[in-house]
């Protein structure tokens, strides 16, 4: 192995992990991918530390302080940053809470729910503090590519990744970005 492999990191911020499940749906193509890239920090490797990478793939939007920290770190360490899926691109399902005050959301869950004991809004410093609204990641850092879908299908991810690695312009076929 003379040729050094490209380094890829992935993470899920405020997402449902559905986009990562779709990544796993690459199935045997993961072996082909592993020929070309080396995974750094990612739920796939369970590595927690982020090294210097060529490509960072982000699932999910920005809902709390920890998301901000993680995203900033990815931006600082990855040459190319990709927003994967509706949540990363637009906030997605979690951003539905943007229609309500944060106070109402938290009270609904923690003080008005059924069967609560000693009901109160959690204030443990271990728990990342919530932002008042959920934001798409491009509102926090510069994003180089946007890969739409909820989640993008494995085929879409595959087309995208192979074109990117080959240094080609990205051109997704109609069926991979439309659902009609």
């Amino acid at each position: 192995m003379i040729e050094s492999k490209l380094k890829v990191a992935t993470c899920s911020l405020c997402g449902c992990f559905g986009c990562h499940m779709s990544l796993l749906d690459l199935d045997e193509r993961l072996f082909d991918l592993a020929e070309k890239v080396e995974f750094d920090r990612s739920p796939l490797t369970d590595l927690k530390e982020l090294g210097e990478c060529d490509i960072g793939i982000i699932e999910g939007g920005i809902a709390n302080v920890e998301n901000v920290h993680t995203l900033l770190e990815f931006r600082a360490r990855c040459k190319i940053l990709i927003a994967m899926g509706a949540c990363a691109i637009s906030g997605g399902i979690p951003a539905m809470r943007n229609h309500y005050e944060l106070k109402d959301c938290l009270e609904e869950s923690y003080t008005r729910g059924i069967g609560l004991v000693d009901a109160q809004i959690p204030n443990d410093p271990e728990i990342p503090l919530l932002l008042d609204q959920v934001h798409p990641i491009h509102e926090v850092v510069k994003i180089d590519y946007f890969l739409p879908g909820c989640p993008p299908s494995a085929d879409t991810i595959w087309t995208f990744v192979t074109q990117l690695l080959a240094g080609q312009p990205i051109a997704l076929p109609y069926t991979q970005i439309h659902y009609d």
Partner: protein, 604 residues
């Protein structure tokens, strides 16, 4: 019970007066609101029942137009015109002053239900601002003493009819007249010409004249009339586009106010040429103050045998004109949206083709022309095409009315032969140190002093007539921001590139304006603007990015001096976004904050 039955009766009477025609829906809703101050669900249901259409349909119209309200509104509804030219004249200070004195929040209604204060898009009084509307009637030349008086009148519940007349005075400010405004026109002269010479001969004169649509797009008027004349069908219509929604333009107001006969005559000639018996003037809601006078003029013309059945005594010459009032929607100036609105629907542009000349009002062949186009056509019918074509340039015959406003000593209406240079206009209106002109309104082009030797005509700088001057004291970006907000407000929401694009563009302009923009944002503006241009459904979205795209090229320094030195900057204040959660949890530990140091990592 008693109350709701009077409501029902009021509405029934109004609907009855409009012959229960669904095409009159917008006019009906306007009248219902005039009586009830807003359109409650109950009112909407009664209108729907009386017209035999679904309440959802009525609601879709009620919710579309800015001047129709589906929530309670004050008995006095005061809306400040918020064009950049009003801002130059200090309207924001007056707005706050009035709201304070009346004790009402901006965009709110006072607790006693007496008065609401808010803003609206340009009301077409740019040469006599700061301007406003009260219950739809134009107020001009506002000052603090005038507002003090208005506060007293509102608090004393004085009916509008008893307010001082001078508050409502609208002057014409004609500063330069040429063949259209300057030459005497005898009522009926054009009608006599078309009767004597016949429609073909008049069409021939129109061809010779080279007249092009004065609404801005510049389509050859003779070709439009010819195509409608050739279109199959017994029933055809003539529509005069007096929506004049482009901020900074007010020449159609002056024509309708001082030259209505000329305009009506042009429409009647058109009716004779294409074979139509009915015409409509679609008058923007902001000009409702002139409706009574226009109706009186129409009546006078009927009595003089210039309108109605047997015009000039010829039983085969029949044509009448109806006035249809808009309700605050810029997009309704687009001809197909205008037709939808005329039909009583919400004003969303149609898919074109087919064009109105074959499928217009009620799907019948229809000519839609601008006010100025009809006025010119009337003159051409009398004086001939060659006479008209002797002025102007090779591709742009005749003259153009310019509406001048902004930083100049003599704002008002200037009629020039096509081909006049920008510099000449600036000299004539006393604009001494102009740094830029917004030509043809926000949908047109922003030009800097480098381009002042260019000529106003379709070959060079095309315009519908708006001409707003920014002098050296002004911050160009204030104007751009004003226009970006205008387009967000006016986008009809039908197609995504415009609905979303205008909002994204506004956010980007705001970000740069408040000193948070970076080069990446400027790049993003260009990309976004390009998408809006090619992907929007109608002219509104296609032209909405113009002010930004032009000024990025023409006035790069007004953006650059505001940029952060970083390559990227977040779109919102992240630390402030944690404030609520800090308050809810009572946390003050270091992890409860995102300080500058951490955030600087977002900006490599």
């Amino acid at each position: 019970m008693a109350e709701s039955s009077t409501l029902a009766q009021t509405i029934r009477d109004i609907v009855q007066r409009h012959q229960k025609l669904p095409t009159r829906l917008l006019q009906i809703l306007r009248e219902v609101q005039d009586r009830l101050t807003w359109l409650s669900t109950e009112a909407i249901n009664v209108v729907a029942e009386e017209l035999g259409i679904s309440p959802a349909k009525v609601r879709s119209v009620a919710e579309f137009y800015s001047f129709l309200y589906t929530a309670p509104r004050g008995s006095y509804d005061i809306l400040f015109s918020d064009n950049i030219t009003d801002r130059m004249l200090g309207n924001r200070e007056l707005l706050h002053y009035l709201a304070d004195r009346l004790g009402v929040a901006i965009n709110g209604t006072r607790a006693d239900g007496r008065v609401s204060v808010g803003t609206t898009s340009c009301t077409g009084m740019c040469d006599q601002g700061p301007a406003a509307l009260v219950n739809g009637y134009a107020l001009t030349r506002l000052t603090k003493p005038r507002l003090d008086r208005i506060v007293e009148l509102v608090n004393a519940k004085t009916p509008l009819e008893q307010w001082p007349r001078e508050f409502f005075e609208v002057v014409s400010n004609i500063r330069r007249a040429d063949i259209l405004l300057g030459r005497h026109f005898a009522d009926g002269a054009a009608l006599r010409a078309v009767l004597k010479r016949g429609p073909e001969a008049i069409l021939e004169e129109m061809v010779k004249s080279g007249l092009r649509g004065q609404g801005g797009a510049g389509f050859k008027s003779a070709a439009k009339w010819q195509s409608c004349r050739n279109a199959p069908g017994e029933v055809k219509y003539v529509v005069c586009n007096a929506d004049e929604g482009e901020p900074g333009t007010f020449k159609d107001r002056v024509l309708m106010q001082d030259y209505a006969d000329l305009v009506f005559e042009g429409m009647t000639v058109c009716g004779r040429v294409i074979g139509a018996r009915q015409g409509f003037v679609y008058l923007r809601g902001e000009y409702r103050y002139m409706v009574d006078a226009l109706k009186a003029t129409l009546q006078r013309r009927r009595e003089a045998g210039l309108l109605g059945a047997a015009i000039l005594g010829d039983a085969s010459f029949e044509f009448d004109i109806d006035i249809h009032l808009g309700a605050g929607a810029y997009v309704c100036g687009e001809e197909s949206a205008l037709i939808e609105s005329l039909e009583g629907k919400h004003g969303v542009p149609r898919i074109r083709p087919p064009f109105p000349t074959t499928h217009g009002y009620l799907n019948k062949p229809t000519v839609v022309n601008n006010v100025e186009t009809f006025a010119s056509a009337a003159k051409i019918a009398v004086e001939g095409g060659n006479w008209f074509a002797s002025r102007g340039t090779a591709e742009s015959k005749g003259t153009k009315l310019l509406s001048l406003s902004g930083d100049c000593e003599r704002p008002g209406i200037y009629e020039y032969p096509f081909g006049v240079t920008v510099r000449q206009v600036l000299e004539d209106c006393g604009a001494r140190d102009a740094q830029g002109i917004q030509m043809a309104g926000p949908a047109g082009h922003m030009i800097s002093a480098k381009l002042f030797d260019r000529r106003i005509c379709f070959e060079d700088l095309a315009t519908g007539g708006s001409f707003m001057v920014f002098d050296q004291r002004r911050d160009i970006l204030d104007g751009i921001r004003n226009f970006a907000h205008f387009f967000v407000h006016e986008s009809c929401g039908f197609c995504t590139p415009c609905r979303v694009g205008t909002s994204l563009m506004r956010d980007l302009v705001d970000k740069v304006h408040t000193g948070h923009g970076t080069r990446a944002d400027l790049e993003e503006m260009r990309k976004l603007g390009q998408i809006m241009r090619v992907a929007s459904h109608c002219g509104l979205g296609q032209t909405a990015p113009n002010p930004v795209l032009d000024s990025l090229d023409q006035f790069p320094e007004s953006y650059e001096r505001r940029l952060r030195s970083t390559a990227f900057e977040p779109a919102f204040d992240m630390n402030a976004a944690l404030e609520q959660a800090r308050w809810l949890t009572g946390r003050t530990d270091p992890d409860a904050y995102l300080d500058e140091e951490i955030l600087s990592r977002a900006m490599p």
